[in-house]
Amino acid sequence: MEANAHPQPRYILIWGILLVLTLAEVGYAFMDLPKIVLAIGLIAMAVWKALMVALYYMHLRYEPRRMWILAASPLPLAVILVVAVLTEF
């Protein structure tokens, strides 16, 4: 069974990273920086955390390449919808 095959990631370490990032986010959010700078920084950290969860906790990192493609497939659609509609405002 493929799960047995893969090396066990250091779950606790990742847990630590997630916590640190969460605290970092909260701290960063209340600095008085221009909104755009805040947004970019926060979203970057959120994406980082999301990737951590997907890659290690959901074991995407140890799945066959075609699973990565499968998992990523809806993201372009999400972007298309939001970006297109935003041009209205």
Partner: protein, 603 residues
Amino acid sequence: MSTAQLVSSLEGEDRSQPGYAGEGQHDISFIRKYIFSTDHKTIGKQFLFLSLFFLVVGGALAGLMRWQLGFPGQPLPGGGVLPDTMAPGGIILPEFYNSLVTMHGTIMVFFAIMPLLVGVFGNLLIPLQIGAPDMAFPKLNMMSFWLAVPAGAVMLASFFVEGGAAGAGWTSYAPLSTSGEWTGVYLGQQLWLASLIIMGFSSLTGAVNYITTVINMRAPGMTWFRIPLPTWSLFITAILILLAIPILTGGLIMLLFDQTIGTTFFIPAGSGEPLLWQHVFWFFGHPEVYILILPAMGIVSEVLACRARKPIFGYHAMVLAMIAIAFLGWIVWGHHMFQSGMNPMLGTTFMISTVVIAVPSAIKTFNWLGTLWRGDIHFDTPMLHALSFVSMFIIGGLSGIFMASAPVDMYFHDTYFIVAHIHYVLFGGSLFGIFAGITFWFPKMFGRMMGEGLGKIHFGLTFIFYNMVFFPMHNLGVQGMMRRIYDPNEYEFLRPLQEMNTFISISVFLLVTTQFLFAFNFFWSMFKGRRAPANPWNSNTLEWTVPSPPAHGNFAVMPTVYRGPYEYSSPEVDADFYPQDQPPPGVGSGGHTASGPEPVPGA
């Protein structure tokens, strides 16, 4: 993989795959067999009866609409039975007319055509054509059907609640649809939303099942480019459903909240955005229309190749074209919103992407023609329906090009030109494809042949009356007649069109009457039809290698696939067909062999 490998891989454990009929038949209670069945073939039949019922309902609603349009303000014969809230004294009320239009569109799209294509043929064909014993998740499959039933019940119930059924069009544009204060419809609109949310879950569970099954459960040798086109089309359709339906569900939920708990996502009075609803709806809506045509295209490709006894022309091109449609389908939704006040720059972009999507359809059309070229064409009922699909889809598609041009759409938007387009693609396309599919696979479903003579008569009359109904709608559109209007005669410039509207309505009544032939043929053949051989059409695909109807578990042993699905008139064999599982000369035994052409019914 090479056939040698395949054969060796077939020795031993693989032959006794769990689930295959070879495992031995276990008999089960009536309930488990016919009502809460997990057999994909039974579920397919359940969907067939459910969606044919809704097709009749949708047709009846259309009949009522056409009565009003053909004979405005005149009492409907026998319309007295309708309650006064709908048609006092048989005279259809404007608000009831709006409900008719809305429910006709909704029921036809979500409860007739979609389940007919996806629910019926998806269930029936996918496991059989890829050589699997059943779907990946049979229980989930059963759930998919048993979600569709309550959804349909709720939709029908909405006719009989206070204020009547939803009346804001099948597109339910906000803010009209957000409050009964605009339409007089309160509960009905909410039931409409609830019903579609449930139906969404039904489609979703189906889609998850189909995708998993096609990816993971193909028989040995069934490589991606040996998959028959109906299964290919259903696989791509399932992906569209998987990604499009949740978007609609999200929108429906927001709309439901706007109506019930006082949110204002789409209500400008609370600084909501009406256009947001349109974007969400059409981002789902355009993929949806391809959901409604792709499986029909697959079915037609199968029938054309089989009845022309010729390999499908450009198999790879056919598959790639469908994939291209599936991709492009996501970036054209704005063509429904050209006149909606959308940013005109965006309009230009959508105009360009929209015309581009005509290209893959062009590829398919020309490949169908290429398949007929130098064929040996047998005119059986399924073939006749498939051929009329091709010819009618061309008309429907070409009318789409007019509206794809934004300035021309400025005139045609929301006129009967659109209505003509809709019906040429959805009736002339999808429904003729469905007729082709039902008549083609009827023997596999019920173990009996459908009456050919009656079938041909039904086809002929349907084809004529259908064109008498919908072709003139183009001319109505050219004259500028708006859609969704209760009585065109309100407009001076539309009065001269009454004659044509009456002509259309009379043709509709003929068209609907003709369908009784089909109904009769359908039920009569089910019980009295000639017993069907395993492979009445001398077809190549796996479903025809097992008895009609196939046993629970489909295949006695897991079949092995040696070639593509459309090896007709191959020089390798004397017969003009070459089943996918027939071992090539020299390779070990096991699969079926084409023992000369069996008599083809009717031909």
